[in-house]
Protein backbone atom coordinates (compact mmCIF):
# COMPACT_ATOMS: atom_id res chain seq x y z
CA UNK A 1 0.00 0.00 0.00
CA UNK A 2 1.54 3.39 -0.93
CA UNK A 3 2.19 5.71 2.03
CA UNK A 4 -0.25 8.29 0.71
CA UNK A 5 -3.14 6.03 1.68
CA UNK A 6 -1.98 5.31 5.21
CA UNK A 7 -1.98 8.93 6.37
CA UNK A 8 -3.85 12.12 5.55
CA UNK A 9 -2.11 15.11 3.96
CA UNK A 10 -2.65 17.05 7.20
CA UNK A 11 -0.88 14.34 9.19
CA UNK A 12 2.05 14.34 6.79
CA UNK A 13 2.35 18.15 6.81
CA UNK A 14 2.23 18.20 10.61
CA UNK A 15 4.90 15.53 10.94
CA UNK A 16 7.17 17.27 8.43
CA UNK A 17 6.72 20.63 10.18
CA UNK A 18 7.47 19.06 13.55
CA UNK A 19 10.80 17.77 12.27
CA UNK A 20 11.81 21.34 11.37
CA UNK A 21 11.85 22.32 15.04
CA UNK A 22 14.98 21.95 17.16
CA UNK A 23 15.06 21.13 20.83
CA UNK A 24 15.21 24.22 23.06
CA UNK A 25 13.90 26.61 20.45
CA UNK A 26 11.34 29.26 21.30
CA UNK A 27 8.36 29.02 18.95
CA UNK A 28 5.56 31.51 18.34
CA UNK A 29 2.63 29.17 17.79
CA UNK A 30 -0.71 29.46 16.05
CA UNK A 31 -3.74 27.26 16.50
CA UNK A 32 -4.32 24.21 14.29
CA UNK A 33 -1.52 22.35 12.49
CA UNK A 34 1.32 24.54 13.89
CA UNK A 35 0.15 23.81 17.43
CA UNK A 36 -0.01 20.08 16.65
CA UNK A 37 3.42 20.19 15.00
CA UNK A 38 4.93 21.83 18.07
CA UNK A 39 3.37 19.35 20.43
CA UNK A 40 4.47 16.44 18.23
CA UNK A 41 8.03 17.80 18.31
CA UNK A 42 7.83 18.12 22.11
CA UNK A 43 6.65 14.53 22.37
CA UNK A 44 9.46 13.24 20.15
CA UNK A 45 12.82 14.90 19.51
CA UNK A 46 12.34 18.38 21.08
CA UNK A 47 11.10 18.07 24.68
CA UNK A 48 12.63 21.45 25.53
CA UNK A 49 10.69 23.41 22.92
CA UNK A 50 9.13 26.55 24.47
CA UNK A 51 5.70 27.46 23.07
CA UNK A 52 4.60 31.10 23.12
CA UNK A 53 1.16 32.26 22.03
CA UNK A 54 0.52 35.86 21.01
CA UNK A 55 -2.21 35.90 23.65
CA UNK A 56 0.55 36.04 26.28
CA UNK A 57 0.86 32.41 27.44
CA UNK A 58 4.47 31.22 27.62
CA UNK A 59 5.43 27.58 28.04
CA UNK A 60 1.85 26.34 27.88
CA UNK A 61 1.13 22.66 28.43
CA UNK A 62 -2.60 22.53 27.67
CA UNK A 63 -4.52 19.56 29.03
CA UNK A 64 -6.91 19.68 26.08
CA UNK A 65 -6.50 20.61 22.43
CA UNK A 66 -6.85 24.42 22.34
CA UNK A 67 -9.43 25.60 19.81
CA UNK A 68 -8.44 29.25 20.01
CA UNK A 69 -5.18 31.08 20.52
CA UNK A 70 -6.60 32.41 23.77
CA UNK A 71 -8.05 29.15 25.08
CA UNK A 72 -8.09 29.02 28.90
CA UNK A 73 -6.27 25.69 28.78
CA UNK A 74 -3.21 27.56 27.49
CA UNK A 75 -3.13 29.63 30.69
CA UNK A 76 -3.67 26.97 33.34
CA UNK A 77 -0.30 25.48 34.16
CA UNK A 78 1.78 27.66 31.85
CA UNK A 79 5.12 29.13 32.91
CA UNK A 80 4.19 32.77 32.44
CA UNK A 81 1.21 34.82 31.34
CA UNK A 82 2.01 38.40 30.40
CA UNK A 83 0.23 41.27 28.67
CA UNK A 84 0.37 41.67 24.92
CA UNK A 85 2.62 44.74 25.10
CA UNK A 86 5.25 42.47 26.65
CA UNK A 87 4.62 39.77 24.04
CA UNK A 88 5.29 42.10 21.14
CA UNK A 89 7.97 44.31 22.69
CA UNK A 90 9.93 42.16 25.15
CA UNK A 91 9.61 38.81 23.39
CA UNK A 92 9.06 39.30 19.64
CA UNK A 93 10.73 42.66 18.88
CA UNK A 94 13.39 41.79 21.46
CA UNK A 95 14.49 38.93 19.20
CA UNK A 96 13.63 36.08 21.57
CA UNK A 97 11.47 34.17 19.09
CA UNK A 98 13.35 31.53 17.12
CA UNK A 99 10.54 30.25 14.92
CA UNK A 100 7.23 31.75 13.86
CA UNK A 101 4.52 29.75 12.10
CA UNK A 102 2.47 31.46 9.41
CA UNK A 103 -0.23 30.51 6.99
CA UNK A 104 -2.27 32.51 4.55
CA UNK A 105 -4.79 32.63 1.76
CA UNK A 106 -2.04 33.52 -0.72
CA UNK A 107 1.71 32.86 -0.68
CA UNK A 108 3.73 34.14 -3.59
CA UNK A 109 6.95 33.28 -5.40
CA UNK A 110 9.04 35.24 -2.88
CA UNK A 111 7.25 34.07 0.24
CA UNK A 112 5.09 37.16 0.69
CA UNK A 113 1.87 36.24 2.44
CA UNK A 114 -1.58 37.73 2.08
CA UNK A 115 -4.17 37.38 4.84
CA UNK A 116 -5.87 40.73 4.16
CA UNK A 117 -7.92 40.88 0.93
CA UNK A 118 -8.57 39.09 -2.35
CA UNK A 119 -8.99 41.87 -4.91
CA UNK A 120 -8.41 45.58 -4.35
CA UNK A 121 -8.06 46.78 -0.74
CA UNK A 122 -10.84 49.39 -0.91
CA UNK A 123 -13.52 47.01 -2.24
CA UNK A 124 -12.27 43.44 -2.02
CA UNK A 125 -14.05 40.43 -3.44
CA UNK A 126 -13.10 38.55 -0.28
CA UNK A 127 -12.24 40.31 2.93
CA UNK A 128 -9.84 38.13 4.96
CA UNK A 129 -9.17 38.66 8.71
CA UNK A 130 -6.05 40.81 8.30
CA UNK A 131 -2.61 40.66 9.85
CA UNK A 132 -3.19 39.87 13.48
CA UNK A 133 0.37 39.35 14.64
CA UNK A 134 1.52 37.94 11.29
CA UNK A 135 3.23 41.06 9.90
CA UNK A 136 5.51 41.45 12.92
CA UNK A 137 6.15 37.71 13.23
CA UNK A 138 7.27 37.63 9.60
CA UNK A 139 9.62 40.55 10.31
CA UNK A 140 11.03 39.58 13.71
CA UNK A 141 11.04 35.78 14.21
CA UNK A 142 14.53 34.48 13.48
CA UNK A 143 12.92 32.31 10.83
CA UNK A 144 9.36 31.55 9.83
CA UNK A 145 7.79 28.33 8.65
CA UNK A 146 4.71 28.36 6.46
CA UNK A 147 2.22 25.50 6.28
CA UNK A 148 -0.19 25.47 3.37
CA UNK A 149 -1.69 23.09 0.83
CA UNK A 150 -0.59 23.63 -2.75
CA UNK A 151 -3.01 25.13 -5.27
CA UNK A 152 -2.69 27.75 -7.98
CA UNK A 153 -5.12 29.95 -6.09
CA UNK A 154 -3.07 29.77 -2.90
CA UNK A 155 0.32 30.13 -4.62
CA UNK A 156 0.06 32.98 -7.19
CA UNK A 157 3.13 34.59 -8.71
CA UNK A 158 2.43 37.65 -6.61
CA UNK A 159 -0.07 38.26 -3.82
CA UNK A 160 -2.91 40.80 -4.00
CA UNK A 161 -1.73 42.40 -0.75
CA UNK A 162 1.48 41.86 1.22
CA UNK A 163 0.39 41.35 4.81
CA UNK A 164 3.56 39.53 5.93
CA UNK A 165 6.74 40.23 4.02
CA UNK A 166 8.80 37.47 2.44
CA UNK A 167 11.91 38.09 0.35
CA UNK A 168 12.77 40.63 -2.36
CA UNK A 169 10.10 43.23 -1.95
CA UNK A 170 10.29 45.72 -4.79
CA UNK A 171 13.66 44.22 -5.59
CA UNK A 172 15.08 44.99 -2.12
CA UNK A 173 16.24 42.31 0.26
CA UNK A 174 15.07 41.88 3.85
CA UNK A 175 18.44 43.04 5.10
CA UNK A 176 18.23 46.22 3.02
CA UNK A 177 14.80 46.89 4.46
CA UNK A 178 16.09 46.42 8.02
CA UNK A 179 14.22 43.26 8.97
CA UNK A 180 15.83 41.37 11.86
CA UNK A 181 14.54 37.90 10.97
CA UNK A 182 15.40 35.60 8.07
CA UNK A 183 11.76 35.36 6.98
CA UNK A 184 9.94 32.37 5.45
CA UNK A 185 12.82 29.98 4.91
CA UNK A 186 10.59 26.98 4.30
CA UNK A 187 7.04 26.25 3.15
CA UNK A 188 5.62 22.89 4.14
CA UNK A 189 2.93 21.81 1.66
CA UNK A 190 0.93 18.65 1.16
CA UNK A 191 3.11 17.52 -1.76
CA UNK A 192 6.60 18.64 -0.91
CA UNK A 193 8.72 21.32 0.75
CA UNK A 194 9.55 24.67 -0.84
CA UNK A 195 12.74 26.40 0.30
CA UNK A 196 13.62 30.05 -0.09
CA UNK A 197 16.72 30.31 -2.27
CA UNK A 198 19.36 31.90 -0.03
CA UNK A 199 20.49 34.25 -2.81
CA UNK A 200 17.30 35.28 -4.56
CA UNK A 201 14.63 34.53 -1.94
CA UNK A 202 12.58 32.69 -4.55
CA UNK A 203 10.68 29.63 -3.34
CA UNK A 204 12.11 26.51 -5.01
CA UNK A 205 11.25 22.87 -4.58
CA UNK A 206 13.54 21.37 -1.94
CA UNK A 207 11.86 18.04 -1.25
CA UNK A 208 9.18 15.88 -2.81
CA UNK A 209 7.08 13.55 -0.67
CA UNK A 210 7.18 9.83 -1.45
CA UNK A 211 4.85 8.93 -4.28
CA UNK A 212 4.34 12.52 -5.48
CA UNK A 213 5.27 13.46 -9.08
CA UNK A 214 7.08 16.71 -9.84
CA UNK A 215 4.29 17.77 -12.20
CA UNK A 216 1.74 17.60 -9.39
CA UNK A 217 3.77 20.17 -7.47
CA UNK A 218 4.31 22.36 -10.53
CA UNK A 219 0.56 22.35 -11.15
CA UNK A 220 0.03 23.76 -7.67
CA UNK A 221 2.01 27.00 -8.02
CA UNK A 222 1.38 30.01 -10.25
CA UNK A 223 4.92 30.45 -11.48
CA UNK A 224 7.54 28.28 -13.17
CA UNK A 225 8.80 26.37 -10.17
CA UNK A 226 12.50 25.69 -10.05
CA UNK A 227 13.97 22.71 -8.22
CA UNK A 228 17.06 22.37 -6.08
CA UNK A 229 19.77 20.36 -7.72
CA UNK A 230 19.24 17.55 -5.25
CA UNK A 231 15.86 17.05 -3.68
CA UNK A 232 15.94 16.02 -0.02
CA UNK A 233 14.31 12.70 0.84
CA UNK A 234 11.27 12.91 3.11
CA UNK A 235 10.16 10.04 5.29
CA UNK A 236 6.42 9.50 5.65
CA UNK A 237 5.03 9.89 9.19
CA UNK A 238 6.37 7.09 11.36
CA UNK A 239 4.05 4.78 13.28
CA UNK A 240 5.04 6.63 16.47
CA UNK A 241 4.26 10.02 14.95
CA UNK A 242 0.90 8.81 13.68
CA UNK A 243 0.01 7.21 16.99
CA UNK A 244 0.83 10.41 18.86
CA UNK A 245 -1.13 12.57 16.44
CA UNK A 246 -4.19 10.32 16.32
CA UNK A 247 -4.42 9.00 19.85
CA UNK A 248 -2.89 11.75 21.98
CA UNK A 249 -2.70 15.13 20.27
CA UNK A 250 -5.89 15.30 18.19
CA UNK A 251 -7.96 12.30 19.18
CA UNK A 252 -11.18 13.82 17.83
CA UNK A 253 -9.56 14.55 14.46
CA UNK A 254 -10.37 18.25 14.74
CA UNK A 255 -7.49 19.32 12.51
CA UNK A 256 -6.07 16.10 11.07
CA UNK A 257 -9.03 14.54 9.32
CA UNK A 258 -8.51 16.02 5.87
Amino acid sequence: MPPSVTHTPAELMTAVAARELRDGEVVFVGIGLPNLACNLARATHAPGLVLIYESGAVGAEPERLPVSIGDPSLVTGSLMVCGMADVFQCLLQNGRIGVGFLGGAQIDRFGNINTTVIGPYARPSVRLPGSGGAAEIAIHARRTLVISRLSRRAFPESVDFVTSPGHRMGGRSRRELGMPGAGPVRVVTDKGILDADPDTGELVLGALYPGVELDEVRAGVGWTLRCRERLQPVDPPSDRELTLLRDVLDPRGLYLKG
Binding site: G56, S68, G70, P129, S131, R174
Partner: protein, 293 residues
Protein backbone atom coordinates in the same frame (compact mmCIF):
# COMPACT_ATOMS: atom_id res chain seq x y z
CA UNK B 1 -25.31 48.17 32.96
CA UNK B 2 -28.20 50.12 31.50
CA UNK B 3 -27.34 53.20 33.57
CA UNK B 4 -23.60 52.98 32.90
CA UNK B 5 -24.07 52.75 29.13
CA UNK B 6 -26.71 55.50 29.15
CA UNK B 7 -24.41 57.82 31.08
CA UNK B 8 -21.02 57.02 29.59
CA UNK B 9 -21.49 55.80 25.99
CA UNK B 10 -22.78 58.41 23.53
CA UNK B 11 -23.61 58.44 19.82
CA UNK B 12 -20.47 59.19 17.81
CA UNK B 13 -18.08 58.00 20.55
CA UNK B 14 -14.88 56.10 19.99
CA UNK B 15 -15.47 52.88 21.93
CA UNK B 16 -13.10 50.12 23.00
CA UNK B 17 -14.35 46.82 24.36
CA UNK B 18 -11.09 44.93 24.82
CA UNK B 19 -10.14 41.41 25.90
CA UNK B 20 -8.02 39.03 23.83
CA UNK B 21 -10.35 36.00 23.52
CA UNK B 22 -10.60 36.19 27.33
CA UNK B 23 -13.04 38.54 29.16
CA UNK B 24 -14.78 40.04 26.12
CA UNK B 25 -17.70 42.01 27.47
CA UNK B 26 -20.63 40.81 25.36
CA UNK B 27 -23.00 42.16 28.05
CA UNK B 28 -21.86 45.74 27.36
CA UNK B 29 -22.03 45.26 23.60
CA UNK B 30 -25.59 43.98 23.86
CA UNK B 31 -26.61 46.92 26.04
CA UNK B 32 -25.10 49.37 23.52
CA UNK B 33 -27.13 47.65 20.77
CA UNK B 34 -30.28 47.76 22.92
CA UNK B 35 -29.83 51.46 23.57
CA UNK B 36 -29.42 51.90 19.78
CA UNK B 37 -26.17 53.86 19.86
CA UNK B 38 -25.15 55.12 16.42
CA UNK B 39 -22.03 56.32 14.54
CA UNK B 40 -19.63 54.63 16.91
CA UNK B 41 -15.98 54.17 16.02
CA UNK B 42 -15.38 50.66 17.31
CA UNK B 43 -11.77 49.80 18.17
CA UNK B 44 -10.41 46.42 19.13
CA UNK B 45 -7.54 44.15 18.11
CA UNK B 46 -9.92 41.28 17.34
CA UNK B 47 -13.46 42.49 16.56
CA UNK B 48 -14.85 39.03 17.39
CA UNK B 49 -18.55 38.14 17.43
CA UNK B 50 -19.59 41.08 19.57
CA UNK B 51 -18.46 43.70 17.03
CA UNK B 52 -19.98 41.58 14.24
CA UNK B 53 -23.28 41.92 16.12
CA UNK B 54 -22.81 45.66 16.69
CA UNK B 55 -21.99 46.18 13.00
CA UNK B 56 -25.07 44.18 12.02
CA UNK B 57 -27.19 46.22 14.44
CA UNK B 58 -26.06 49.45 12.79
CA UNK B 59 -24.10 50.89 15.72
CA UNK B 60 -20.80 51.31 13.88
CA UNK B 61 -19.57 53.99 11.52
CA UNK B 62 -15.97 52.86 11.55
CA UNK B 63 -13.85 49.92 12.66
CA UNK B 64 -10.25 50.20 13.92
CA UNK B 65 -8.73 46.73 14.21
CA UNK B 66 -6.00 44.21 13.43
CA UNK B 67 -7.70 40.81 12.99
CA UNK B 68 -11.35 40.38 12.12
CA UNK B 69 -12.35 36.74 12.23
CA UNK B 70 -14.26 34.18 14.22
CA UNK B 71 -11.30 32.57 15.97
CA UNK B 72 -11.13 28.88 15.19
CA UNK B 73 -14.53 28.85 13.48
CA UNK B 74 -14.71 31.07 10.39
CA UNK B 75 -15.63 34.58 9.31
CA UNK B 76 -17.45 37.58 10.73
CA UNK B 77 -20.01 37.80 7.96
CA UNK B 78 -21.71 41.05 9.01
CA UNK B 79 -18.26 42.65 8.90
CA UNK B 80 -17.55 41.05 5.52
CA UNK B 81 -20.86 42.17 4.02
CA UNK B 82 -20.10 45.71 5.15
CA UNK B 83 -16.63 45.68 3.61
CA UNK B 84 -17.27 43.61 0.50
CA UNK B 85 -20.69 45.06 -0.39
CA UNK B 86 -21.11 48.18 1.73
CA UNK B 87 -24.13 46.73 3.52
CA UNK B 88 -24.10 48.87 5.64
CA UNK B 89 -21.07 51.04 4.78
CA UNK B 90 -18.18 50.72 7.24
CA UNK B 91 -15.00 52.74 7.27
CA UNK B 92 -11.86 50.74 8.11
CA UNK B 93 -8.61 51.73 9.82
CA UNK B 94 -6.35 48.72 9.89
CA UNK B 95 -3.16 47.82 11.78
CA UNK B 96 -1.45 44.65 12.96
CA UNK B 97 -1.75 43.43 16.56
CA UNK B 98 1.55 45.08 17.49
CA UNK B 99 0.34 48.31 15.90
CA UNK B 100 -2.89 48.29 17.93
CA UNK B 101 -1.00 47.44 21.13
CA UNK B 102 1.37 50.31 20.38
CA UNK B 103 -1.53 52.73 19.73
CA UNK B 104 -3.04 51.91 23.12
CA UNK B 105 0.37 52.03 24.84
CA UNK B 106 0.86 55.56 23.49
CA UNK B 107 -2.65 56.47 24.60
CA UNK B 108 -2.04 55.11 28.10
CA UNK B 109 1.23 57.05 28.38
CA UNK B 110 -0.43 60.16 26.92
CA UNK B 111 2.20 60.42 24.21
CA UNK B 112 1.05 61.38 20.71
CA UNK B 113 2.73 58.37 19.07
CA UNK B 114 4.54 55.09 19.72
CA UNK B 115 7.61 53.74 17.99
CA UNK B 116 8.00 50.19 16.71
CA UNK B 117 10.26 48.30 14.34
CA UNK B 118 7.67 47.07 11.91
CA UNK B 119 5.84 47.31 8.57
CA UNK B 120 8.84 47.35 6.22
CA UNK B 121 7.92 45.35 3.14
CA UNK B 122 4.20 45.20 3.94
CA UNK B 123 1.32 46.94 2.16
CA UNK B 124 -0.22 48.08 5.45
CA UNK B 125 1.26 51.62 5.41
CA UNK B 126 -0.09 52.07 1.86
CA UNK B 127 -3.55 51.03 3.09
CA UNK B 128 -3.33 53.17 6.23
CA UNK B 129 -1.58 56.56 5.96
CA UNK B 130 -1.56 56.87 9.77
CA UNK B 131 1.30 54.36 9.84
CA UNK B 132 4.27 56.71 9.55
CA UNK B 133 7.91 56.85 10.57
CA UNK B 134 10.41 58.67 12.72
CA UNK B 135 14.19 58.97 12.64
CA UNK B 136 16.13 57.79 15.69
CA UNK B 137 18.08 60.72 17.18
CA UNK B 138 20.92 58.35 18.13
CA UNK B 139 21.39 55.87 15.29
CA UNK B 140 19.73 57.72 12.41
CA UNK B 141 17.66 54.68 11.50
CA UNK B 142 14.04 54.94 10.40
CA UNK B 143 11.41 53.30 12.59
CA UNK B 144 7.66 52.93 12.19
CA UNK B 145 5.18 54.92 14.26
CA UNK B 146 1.47 54.69 15.01
CA UNK B 147 -0.63 57.47 16.52
CA UNK B 148 -1.98 57.26 20.07
CA UNK B 149 -5.46 55.85 20.50
CA UNK B 150 -7.40 57.67 23.22
CA UNK B 151 -10.96 56.32 23.19
CA UNK B 152 -13.89 58.21 24.62
CA UNK B 153 -14.89 55.13 26.55
CA UNK B 154 -13.30 51.76 27.29
CA UNK B 155 -15.15 48.79 28.72
CA UNK B 156 -13.03 46.31 30.66
CA UNK B 157 -14.46 43.01 31.77
CA UNK B 158 -12.73 41.53 34.83
CA UNK B 159 -13.04 38.75 37.34
CA UNK B 160 -13.45 41.10 40.30
CA UNK B 161 -13.33 44.66 41.56
CA UNK B 162 -14.26 46.56 44.69
CA UNK B 163 -16.95 49.25 44.70
CA UNK B 164 -14.32 51.94 44.00
CA UNK B 165 -13.25 50.18 40.80
CA UNK B 166 -9.95 48.67 41.89
CA UNK B 167 -9.92 45.85 39.38
CA UNK B 168 -8.15 42.49 39.41
CA UNK B 169 -7.64 40.23 36.42
CA UNK B 170 -5.77 36.96 36.04
CA UNK B 171 -5.23 34.69 33.10
CA UNK B 172 -4.77 36.44 29.76
CA UNK B 173 -4.31 40.18 30.31
CA UNK B 174 -4.52 41.34 26.69
CA UNK B 175 -4.26 45.13 26.44
CA UNK B 176 -6.88 45.84 29.10
CA UNK B 177 -4.56 47.95 31.24
CA UNK B 178 -3.39 50.09 28.33
CA UNK B 179 -6.93 50.55 27.02
CA UNK B 180 -8.23 51.64 30.43
CA UNK B 181 -5.46 54.19 31.00
CA UNK B 182 -5.76 55.49 27.43
CA UNK B 183 -9.47 56.20 27.76
CA UNK B 184 -11.35 59.31 28.82
CA UNK B 185 -14.02 57.21 30.56
CA UNK B 186 -13.81 53.64 31.85
CA UNK B 187 -16.55 51.16 32.67
CA UNK B 188 -15.44 48.07 34.56
CA UNK B 189 -17.77 45.07 34.36
CA UNK B 190 -17.10 42.28 36.83
CA UNK B 191 -18.11 38.75 37.52
CA UNK B 192 -17.96 39.49 41.23
CA UNK B 193 -17.97 42.59 43.41
CA UNK B 194 -15.63 42.08 46.35
CA UNK B 195 -14.75 43.90 49.54
CA UNK B 196 -11.85 46.32 49.37
CA UNK B 197 -10.03 43.97 51.75
CA UNK B 198 -9.94 41.26 49.07
CA UNK B 199 -8.18 43.66 46.72
CA UNK B 200 -5.80 44.87 49.41
CA UNK B 201 -4.84 41.31 50.32
CA UNK B 202 -3.11 40.83 46.92
CA UNK B 203 -2.29 44.26 45.45
CA UNK B 204 0.01 42.90 42.69
CA UNK B 205 -3.10 41.40 41.05
CA UNK B 206 -4.70 44.82 40.53
CA UNK B 207 -4.52 45.76 36.87
CA UNK B 208 -6.60 48.95 36.86
CA UNK B 209 -6.83 51.20 39.92
CA UNK B 210 -10.12 52.75 40.95
CA UNK B 211 -8.79 56.24 40.26
CA UNK B 212 -9.03 55.44 36.54
CA UNK B 213 -12.55 53.96 36.68
CA UNK B 214 -15.87 55.81 36.23
CA UNK B 215 -18.39 53.02 36.81
CA UNK B 216 -18.42 49.48 38.13
CA UNK B 217 -21.10 47.12 36.85
CA UNK B 218 -21.66 43.68 38.33
CA UNK B 219 -22.68 41.29 35.58
CA UNK B 220 -22.10 37.59 36.14
CA UNK B 221 -21.68 35.64 32.87
CA UNK B 222 -21.15 39.02 31.19
CA UNK B 223 -18.41 37.70 28.93
CA UNK B 224 -20.34 34.71 27.50
CA UNK B 225 -19.70 33.21 24.89
CA UNK B 226 -16.13 34.30 25.64
CA UNK B 227 -14.83 33.23 29.03
CA UNK B 228 -13.60 34.31 32.44
CA UNK B 229 -10.70 32.27 33.82
CA UNK B 230 -11.72 30.68 37.08
CA UNK B 231 -15.42 31.47 36.49
CA UNK B 232 -16.54 29.82 33.25
CA UNK B 233 -15.18 28.24 30.09
CA UNK B 234 -15.36 29.52 26.55
CA UNK B 235 -18.58 28.45 24.77
CA UNK B 236 -16.88 27.08 21.67
CA UNK B 237 -20.12 25.68 20.31
CA UNK B 238 -21.54 29.17 20.17
CA UNK B 239 -18.53 30.38 18.17
CA UNK B 240 -18.99 27.48 15.75
CA UNK B 241 -22.74 28.12 15.42
CA UNK B 242 -22.13 31.84 14.77
CA UNK B 243 -20.73 31.00 11.30
CA UNK B 244 -24.20 30.00 10.09
CA UNK B 245 -26.07 32.73 11.97
CA UNK B 246 -23.75 35.47 10.77
CA UNK B 247 -23.78 34.25 7.18
CA UNK B 248 -27.56 34.77 6.85
CA UNK B 249 -28.70 38.37 7.48
CA UNK B 250 -32.16 37.12 8.40
CA UNK B 251 -30.75 34.65 10.91
CA UNK B 252 -28.57 37.35 12.40
CA UNK B 253 -31.57 39.67 12.75
CA UNK B 254 -33.51 36.89 14.45
CA UNK B 255 -30.59 36.32 16.82
CA UNK B 256 -30.50 39.99 17.80
CA UNK B 257 -34.29 40.08 18.22
CA UNK B 258 -34.25 37.07 20.48
CA UNK B 259 -31.07 37.44 22.54
CA UNK B 260 -30.47 41.20 22.57
CA UNK B 261 -33.65 43.19 21.97
CA UNK B 262 -35.77 40.37 23.35
CA UNK B 263 -34.28 40.55 26.82
CA UNK B 264 -33.97 43.44 29.25
CA UNK B 265 -30.69 42.55 30.86
CA UNK B 266 -28.00 39.95 31.29
CA UNK B 267 -29.94 37.79 33.70
CA UNK B 268 -32.70 37.38 31.10
CA UNK B 269 -30.06 36.63 28.46
CA UNK B 270 -28.64 33.84 30.59
CA UNK B 271 -32.13 32.47 31.07
CA UNK B 272 -32.81 32.73 27.32
CA UNK B 273 -29.62 30.71 26.74
CA UNK B 274 -31.17 28.00 28.89
CA UNK B 275 -28.71 28.66 31.69
CA UNK B 276 -24.94 28.52 31.43
CA UNK B 277 -24.04 26.42 34.46
CA UNK B 278 -22.60 23.74 32.19
CA UNK B 279 -19.75 26.16 31.43
CA UNK B 280 -18.89 26.72 35.12
CA UNK B 281 -15.13 26.46 35.68
CA UNK B 282 -13.52 23.64 37.59
CA UNK B 283 -11.24 24.37 40.51
CA UNK B 284 -7.52 25.01 40.01
CA UNK B 285 -6.86 27.39 42.88
CA UNK B 286 -3.24 28.47 43.30
CA UNK B 287 -1.52 28.98 46.63
CA UNK B 288 -1.25 32.49 48.02
CA UNK B 289 2.01 34.33 48.60
CA UNK B 290 3.22 36.07 51.75
CA UNK B 291 2.99 39.87 51.75
CA UNK B 292 4.32 40.07 55.32
CA UNK B 293 7.47 41.92 56.39
Amino acid sequence: MGDAVAALVHDGDTVVIEGFTHLICFAAGHEIIRQRRRDLTLCRLTPDLIYDQMIAAGCARKLVFSWAGNPGAGSLHAFRRAVERGEPPLELEEYSHFGMVARLSAGAARLPFWTLRNYMGTDLPAANPLIRSVTCPYTGETLATVPALNPDVTIVHAQRADAAGNTQIWGLLGVQKEAAFASRRVIVVVEELVEEAVIRADPNRTLVPGLAVDAVVVEPWGAHPSYAQGYYDRDNDFYVRWEAVSREPAALTRYLEEFVFGVHNRAEYVERCGGLEWLRAGSRVCAGVNYGY
